[in-house]
């Protein structure tokens, strides 16, 4: 049941989200409206073929089914929403419906976090951590202003992680498989799941099963579990992709889900390693006074070309990502395996693909921050420090997503409130508040976001003259420094056996 404080908490959150309805929404709003129209008005075999609008369906089948369910409600709400030819339709009733669908589906996240709190013994710190995940600027900016359904999807992820914490590995695996069939970006963290489930669930040692590491491998039990897990995962994937395989559309789905046509960096450089690489290239270009061929910030989504440093082909980023994911697996192999370490491994996995992946969106930072946020129920001192730095930088890096002057006070107030609460309320396992844990340079870095905000958002763009890209580049380089720093810190922390 919902307690009085739950109601107050949900009420305040929903109130702000409701008030944000008329705020800016990105093309993702129209993308999702179009998917409502496709799934609501077309037969199953047309879903992944239909291309009247340029915003074709490119999420896996479960998400399409999710849109299909919503489309039924939408038809009742306002039939205009689910018509294929109402492109760009954004009347107040359409906005209300779509915004409301985000808010309602987000309750999955709330329920999942409630389960997480219970799994953590209902400690105050776990409640604070859960509240900070639920009302994080990530979901507020990306879901409730920009427009996406991350709250719902991360709810499924949190459920899966909590199942693992409760020791229900098979269920965790099945849930994660289902999540992959909702949105395939979660593949970034699949290696952690694969290794964890393999070692923790499938490998059975000795007679007392999981307890001791030293025991001999129990082949029969292990094989049986492997078969069970495989069957469950296959069943989930079969439910998702089976109908389309029967229609012979798997190649079409593949082409839709994995379009390999984009550049190394997104229009705005996500704060990752490649942003630093590109910035270094720019600096070298100036230093060597080499003739510039093209600027990666000037072109929109397209190939990034470098002036001095060697170009980065997709294969290199792929290799770098895999290499960076190795520590995530090592976390699970070395030392005692625990649900805690599994979540750490998920975080490192997400981190690796964020830092080194091809065409990474800044929004993907939530994939690191949400699982890491769960670890804030009882973090070590260093984990807490790294989280504080990463969360500030990572959520700040979402600012360019809401670029309008109208949203400026909204994003500034939301982020400031969240950071204040996080720094004051999160505590390390030795009961030291986050702000008190931070070292002087880390504090300076966190505070440095204020002048960064002034330079990037408040100074009129005319002041930058010919260097119009400078504010954005400044944001991505500054935040990339914090993101990378936290990665190194977390690597050191999590790799301790």
């Amino acid at each position: 049941m919902l307690g009085a404080t739950d109601i107050a908490f949900l009420g305040v959150g929903s109130g702000i989200k409701l008030l944000l309805w008329p705020a800016y929404h990105s093309t993702d709003f129209e993308v999702h409206r179009n998917w409502l129209a496709i799934t609501g008005s077309q037969a199953l075999r047309r879903w992944y073929v239909e291309d009247t609008s340029e915003w074709t369906l490119d999420y896996p089948p479960f998400f399409a089914w999710f849109e299909w369910v919503l489309a039924h409600a939408a038809r009742w709400w306002d039939p205009q929403i689910v018509r294929l030819d109402s492109m760009g339709y954004a009347s107040s009733s359409c906005v209300a419906f779509q915004r409301l669908s985000v808010m309602v589906s987000e309750l999955v996240l709330y329920a999942a976090l409630g389960r997480f709190v219970r799994a953590s013994g209902s400690s105050m710190q776990s409640k604070i951590a859960a509240a900070l995940v639920f009302l994080s600027p990530g979901f507020l900016f990306v879901d409730h202003v920009h427009f996406q359904y991350n709250g719902f999807l991360f709810g499924i992820l949190v459920y899966s992680l909590v199942f693992a914490m409760e020791g229900r590995d098979l269920l965790a695996g099945a849930t994660f498989a289902a999540l992959l069939c909702f949105k395939h970006i979660f593949m970034y963290i699949a290696p952690a799941y694969f290794v964890y489930l393999l070692l923790n669930y499938c490998v059975v040692r000795g007679s007392q099963r999981r307890a001791a590491r030293g025991g001999r491998l129990d082949m029969r039990a292990s094989a049986w579990r492997l078969a069970k897990l495989g069957a469950v995962v296959l069943a989930v994937f079969g439910a998702a992709f089976g109908p389309f395989a029967a229609l012979g559309q798997l190649p079409q789905l593949g082409a839709r889900l994995f379009p390999f046509k984009r550049g190394l960096c997104h229009a705005f450089w996500a704060p990752n390693f490649w942003a630093l690489y590109a910035a270094a290239d720019r600096l070298l270009l100036v230093a060597l006074r080499a003739p510039a061929s093209a600027s990666s910030t000037r072109g929109l989504v397209g190939d990034t070309s470098f002036g001095v440093l060697p170009a980065v082909p997709p294969l290199v980023t792929f290799a770098a990502t895999l290499l960076a994911q190795l520590p995530a697996c090592i976390v699970l192999v070395r030392g005692r395996r625990s649900p805690q370490r599994f979540v750490q491994s998920v975080v490192l996995c997400a981190y690796a693909s964020f830092l080194f992946g091809w065409h990474v969106h800044e929004k993907a930072i939530i994939l690191i921050l949400a699982p890491l946020g769960l670890l804030m129920a009882a973090p070590s001192q260093r984990t807490l420090r790294m989280f504080a730095v990463l969360a500030t930088a990572g959520y700040y890096s979402l600012f360019p997503l809401l670029f309008g002057a109208q949203e400026l006070p909204v994003k500034a107030a939301l982020l400031l409130m969240w950071v204040l609460c996080a720094l004051a309320l999160l505590r390390s396992d030795r009961n030291v508040a986050a702000w008190a844990c931070l070292s002087a340079p880390e504090r300076a870095y966190v505070l440095g976001h204020v002048p960064l905000f002034v330079a990037a958002e408040l100074v009129p763009s005319a002041a930058f003259g010919r260097l119009q890209f400078l504010p954005l580049a400044l944001v991505s380089v500054y935040t990339a420094l914090g993101v990378t720093y936290s990665w190194l810190g977390l690597l050191v922390e999590f790799l301790r056996p």
Partner: protein, 527 residues
């Protein structure tokens, strides 16, 4: 479902009758995070204001006259481009300036800034009805900035002053509640007006009254009056308070003379551009007090409008008779409270000293009762004028928790017809439910401080309000009575306000006043 953020067990006595707002600050205290309380409150207040500002405003897209938004913008346009001698004469048919000089100066300052950023926002004649996103953003931000400069610091300082004795949680809860009071947010940041400037100066004058700086108090009240003549609703109480202070023994006459000089000086400075000509001053006077407009505007939850539903006063009497009737009734209504305020303060000035905290409390009750008297009985009342009684009512939020919560609910309800016209239904619902959720007693039946009959009555009125909303949404009014729901709203709100008026008068007249001497000796003992 697990309860997020509930304070751990062992909260002791405080835990029982606590509204969610208090619980939040209680939680911050428990977590040793008091430092973030005020910043988070201020940021949240900013966020809510700006979110409301994303929605509609008065007269949006309603050519050719638009609404209050265009009036304010038009004043910026005319003050920037026209000489002050023309300000109160310029094209009176199209939103002629009809507020006192401080509003004109504010329009001029904002207009200058607008002219600097983009002259097209305030181009003379050309800019009428301009509604570009950038100009709207500018207009909205002027309200926010002025409120942040005047109203917000006054509220924070007043509640943090030593003259408002309460514990940390009560203090922070009061600041939070006053800053997130929905009515002012909806009118200023939704409908579009600058009431927070007038009310901000009023709170400043209460603050200076608390600090016993009576000259500054008088100056601030004059500024409030010079921003909007509506501040006259408070004038009898402020006058009674200051006059009584002049009866203190050693320097009473001196104070009286100084106050007179300060008031005349403030008015003089404000009217300086027009001092040369009596025709100018006369024009300002008739612009600011347009008696000819009628007994009340639109449908207002005051007594005349409610009576009008039964007896057509405007048909029965002429305008001048009505003015006299209204003036007489208003005077009768505010007299008891003002006389009590005067006598209590005078007695303290003469002999037994009044505790500063009690003096502030007394002043607040006086302000509430006079302004409510004006709202209910005076001539030419706007529905927005409920903001005036609301401001001092909220300063009593710690003394009168349930009455204030309830008053705010009803006041917001009485504004609904206006907000409906502005297309502000969505924020209205968010703010109404939000206030009830975070502050109001029925939402937390654990509150043991509220008497049970009050709790039940409050539930009943909430039900009535919800029922009226539901009826309005579902059942179209009969063709013979197109304004049925608005009239019902007026009758309901008016009767509630009359009850509150009686209650606050009762509370003021029976206020237990602790004499300073005994109280002081007691605090010494405590130390």
């Amino acid at each position: 479902m697990v309860v997020l953020l509930r304070p751990a067990a062992g909260g002791g006595a405080r835990r029982g009758g606590v509204v969610p707002t208090e619980r939040w600050f209680w939680f911050l205290g428990e977590q040793d995070a008091q430092g973030i309380a005020l910043p988070v409150t201020l940021l949240f207040a900013l966020l809510v204001r700006w979110c409301v500002a994303l929605h509609g405003y008065s007269g949006r897209g309603m050519s050719p006259l638009y609404g209050d938004y265009e009036a304010q913008r038009h004043w910026m346009e005319l003050t920037v481009h026209v000489a002050p001698s023309e300000w109160y004469f310029y094209d009176l048919a199209y939103w002629g300036l009809d507020y006192p000089p401080l509003t004109a100066f504010q329009s001029w300052v904002c207009g200058r800034v607008a002219h600097l950023i983009d002259p097209s926002w305030v181009a003379l004649g050309q800019s009428r009805g301009i509604e570009t996103p950038a100009s709207k953003l500018f207009m909205r931000s002027t309200v926010l900035v002025l409120e942040a400069l005047i109203y917000v610091p006054a509220v924070v300082l007043l509640f943090r002053s030593r003259q408002m004795p309460m514990n940390w949680i009560a203090r922070e809860t009061s600041i939070f509640s006053v800053l997130l009071q929905p009515c002012l947010i909806m009118i200023d940041h939704g409908h579009f007006q600058y009431n927070s400037v007038m009310l901000g100066f009023l709170v400043w004058s209460v603050y200076f009254a608390a600090r016993e700086r009576y000259l500054l108090m008088a100056v601030c009240f004059c500024l409030s009056l010079m921003f909007k003549q509506m501040a006259l609703y408070f004038a009898p109480a402020v006058f009674a308070f200051l006059l009584a202070k002049c009866f203190r023994s050693p320097y009473g006459v001196q104070l009286f003379v100084k106050l007179g000089l300060v008031v005349i000086g403030t008015f003089g400075i404000m009217l300086l551009p027009w001092m040369g000509s009596s025709a100018q001053l006369h024009q300002i006077l008739i612009r600011v007090f347009p008696v000819a407009r009628g007994l009340y505007e639109d449908k207002v939850a005051n007594v005349w409008c409610a009576v009008n539903a039964v007896a057509k006063l405007r048909v029965m009497f002429g305008t001048s008779a009505l003015v006299r009737l209204a003036a007489g009734a208003t005077t009768l209504a505010f007299l008891p409270s003002c006389v009590h305020l005067f006598r209590a303060v005078k007695r303290s000035a003469v002999g037994q000293a009044l505790l500063p905290a009690d003096a502030v409390k007394l002043l607040c009750y006086g302000l509430v009762n006079t302004s409510l008297a004006f709202f209910l009985f005076s001539f030419q009342v706007h529905e927005k004028s409920i903001l005036l009684p609301l401001a001092p009512v909220l300063l009593l939020i710690h003394e009168e928790p349930w009455a204030v919560n309830w008053f705010v609910q009803v006041a917001l309800f009485s504004l609904y017809p206006l907000l409906f016209r502005d297309g502000l239904q969505a924020p209205y619902w968010v703010m109404a439910i939000g206030w009830s959720l975070l502050r109001s007693c029925p939402a937390c039946p654990a509150d043991k401080k509220t008497p049970l009959p009050v709790l039940n009555a409050q539930w009943l009125t909430m039900l009535a309000m919800v029922a009226l909303h539901a009826a309005q949404a579902l059942i179209p009014p009969p063709p013979s009575l197109p304004d049925l729901y608005v009239v019902l709203n007026v009758m309901f709100s008016c009767s509630m306000f009359v009850i509150f008026f009686a209650y606050f008068n009762y509370r003021q007249l029976t206020l237990p006043l602790v004499r300073a001497r005994t109280a002081r000796s007691r605090t010494k003992k405590d130390n």
